[in-house]
Symmetry: C2
Subunit: 406 residues, 2 copies
């Protein structure tokens, strides 16, 4: 084990720093995840250089991203989609279209490449409802109508965001005349993948059930779910989408059985160990030397656009329920999170976005995530608390979707 | 995520193969862990070469070893040591001394280097009681007196084995005149470490309790335990012992609080994902080209010595309870397991044992683990089943020490 000293040191050091900064952020009323990213910025290679993560650490961070999305998928039972209804679907669709158009247009105007504009715009699309769910949970408002619309829209948002990411990654990694052909192919692949995992895969899991429960391997359901998660991650990457898309849809397929097989709490335990490495390395990849005056202006503009476009996009479909409800829903959908970060990372790894554009996404994610809780509390302040029964039919231990973002 | 294709492929492929071979072994009534090792031998670099694990996979395997020992530690509450009493201590002591002396002598006679002889002998020492616990659990005999002696001795065995490993690693990595000075220093360090973790650390954890439970971080007890596990692993490696020793003692320190904080089941979930990579890579490291006639003879001799020495060493201290009880205890202590494998791996990584000697340990581990269940059933066949209450006060979900080896 002697040869692994530097690796062990990095494991220990990164884990402790990430969790320490997360704890400080929590105590200050901010999301822990931003603290973990900040830890990477501060002590990482572009900051104090106390630790320069090795390839193995980045590999673990990559597995962390896979488990993060797998857990999100597990908490998104396809059955819920039918229940949340059309309102949430419209909120999600408009909440994806408006920020994408705003983001893409601004980035082109600011003389970024079309590929870069596509990635940053895609990162502006993904709502991380975890922050919102947690704030509403604290206020005991999760059972109110606007809260239900938000949670429902977030489920669609996750799925639509994944399809968009699949298309975007496919698009920028091909070139020349076949580009548009490829775009159509990838779009069809991504939509087809989503539909299969939404409607067919849960049935397959249901049919597997007796076999899985008869297996001799200890905790066979978890083992099967992990194997399928790894397999679909690999398959997604193989056909030119992002690995995490496979992980997300693998989670989706098992969502229905997650409570019965206690998959949620187990995936969460694995997450608890791996996710800090992911968030830390997101920060460690941020080159703070790009933070000149022009960058800061761009970052502020992008953040404001991300904010306004989401509030408008998500608010408009529910404006008939009154402007108060529209504001609640709009503010609730503002925080960006893991998915946006992962979109940016995919772009950085594919070599299609610059360190500047990557920095813009990190900044935008942090800004929207920080500002949202205050506005949500403000918008919901006149709502009457409703006793909490359960949020969806997820594993009781997971309690709600805020789990990852805490 | 595109750049991680080969890594994702290896993750998926290794996990599936290991679990598949494990399932086949389970169905044939053999320990899954041997199937996972065999998977590494068959499809690994010295076998069919279907997969040549990258450095990142070996890094993950290393973390797997750390969590394996952490979990074993968690299931070894120091309080139990006081209860199991002197009989178990004598069984453990004689069960360590006799195999070590036998193994060391034979290896020297067979013209191996003293370092190599030390490592192979140390690997012959470690009992993995998981197999035994599982067989007795199946027969509902875990509450019988011999079973309690075995489980108690296994607890001492783990701790004494860890101290021995610490000394051995320290010994062979220093040279020249200071060697014996170093030996004393390392021995004192190892014993001191064990004593601190046994008697002082649980008190520290007890004092930390209110603080930990007040923390804002989600699942703070797990996070704190993981941080201490990684920290002690690093510290152990730093002072010249094996990293897993730190992990084991970290587990020990938290064993008392494991049920309350549900650490056992959470560590087990992380294990479920990581351990297959460890066992697979143990097999992948086995160069089957060393399997000539002389190797096979050596391997059989070593296995027989490992068997006889453990039966005699562990049986003698309880011979006053009748030769039947002596046989039960002796056979129950025969299976070697994770700890022996890790000792061999430490030797291989420190460059002090050859591929042949590494092969001997793998062979001996497999042989003793395969033969023990039959003999245990034979020896215990006249024992009356006792209704199982609980085994120790470990987390109810972990149920018993057989957890890792299934």
């Amino acid at each position: 084990m002697h040869s692994s000293d530097p690796f062990l040191f990095q494991l220990f050091f990164i884990f402790v720093w990430a969790k320490l900064c997360g704890e400080v952020f929590e105590r200050l009323g901010m999301p822990a995840v931003l603290g973990e990213i900040l830890a990477g910025i501060i002590i990482g290679p572009y900051g104090a250089r106390l630790v320069v993560p090795s390839d193995s650490i980045y590999a673990i961070a990559g597995i962390g991203a896979i488990f993060l999305l797998f857990t999100i998928g597990l908490e998104t039972p396809p059955k819920d989609l039918i229940q949340v209804g059309k309102t949430s679907l419209y909120v999600a669709l408009a909440g994806i279209t408006v920020p994408f158009v705003f983001g893409f247009s601004y980035m082109l105007l600011a003389e970024h490449t079309p590929s870069e504009a596509t990635f940053v715009a895609a990162a502006m699309v993904a709502t991380s409802v975890g922050i919102t769910a947690r704030v509403l949970d604290d206020l005991k408002l999760l059972q109110t109508r606007p809260a239900r619309i938000i949670l429902g829209a977030a489920v669609f948002d996750d799925i639509l965001g994944m399809i968009l990411l699949g298309v975007v990654v496919g698009l920028v990694t091909t070139e020349g005349a076949t580009k548009w052909v490829q775009l159509v192919v990838t779009a069809v692949e991504a939509v087809g993948f989503a539909l299969v995992m939404l409607f067919y895969a849960p049935r397959v899991v249901r049919r597997m059930e007796p076999g899985v429960e008869r297996m001799s391997t200890r905790d066979a359901p978890l083992v099967i779910a992990l194997a399928i998660c790894l397999g679909l991650s690999f398959a997604a990457a193989k056909i030119g989408m992002a690995a995490i898309i496979g992980a997300f849809f693998a989670g989706l397929a098992f969502a229905e059985y997650s409570p019965r097989w206690r998959l949620g709490s187990k995936a969460l335990a694995i997450n608890e160990f791996l996710a800090p490495f992911f968030f830390f390395s997101m920060g460690a990849r941020l080159n703070i030397n790009v933070f000149d005056r022009r960058f800061v202006i761009s970052a502020i503009v992008i953040s404001i656009l991300a904010f306004i476009s989401k509030v408008v996009g998500c608010g408009l479909p529910v404006i008939n329920l009154g402007w108060r409800t529209a504001a609640k829903v709009g503010f609730g959908m503002v925080p960006r999170g893991e998915v946006g970060l992962i979109v940016a990372l995919a772009g950085l790894q594919a070599g299609v976005i610059s360190e500047r554009a990557y920095g813009l996404v990190i900044f935008m994610t942090g800004a929207t995530t920080l500002v949202a809780p205050f506005l949500i509390k403000l918008a919901f302040r006149q709502e009457e608390p409703v006793p909490l029964i359960t949020v969806g039919d997820t594993d009781s231990e997971d309690s709600n979707r805020s789990a990852h973002m805490r």
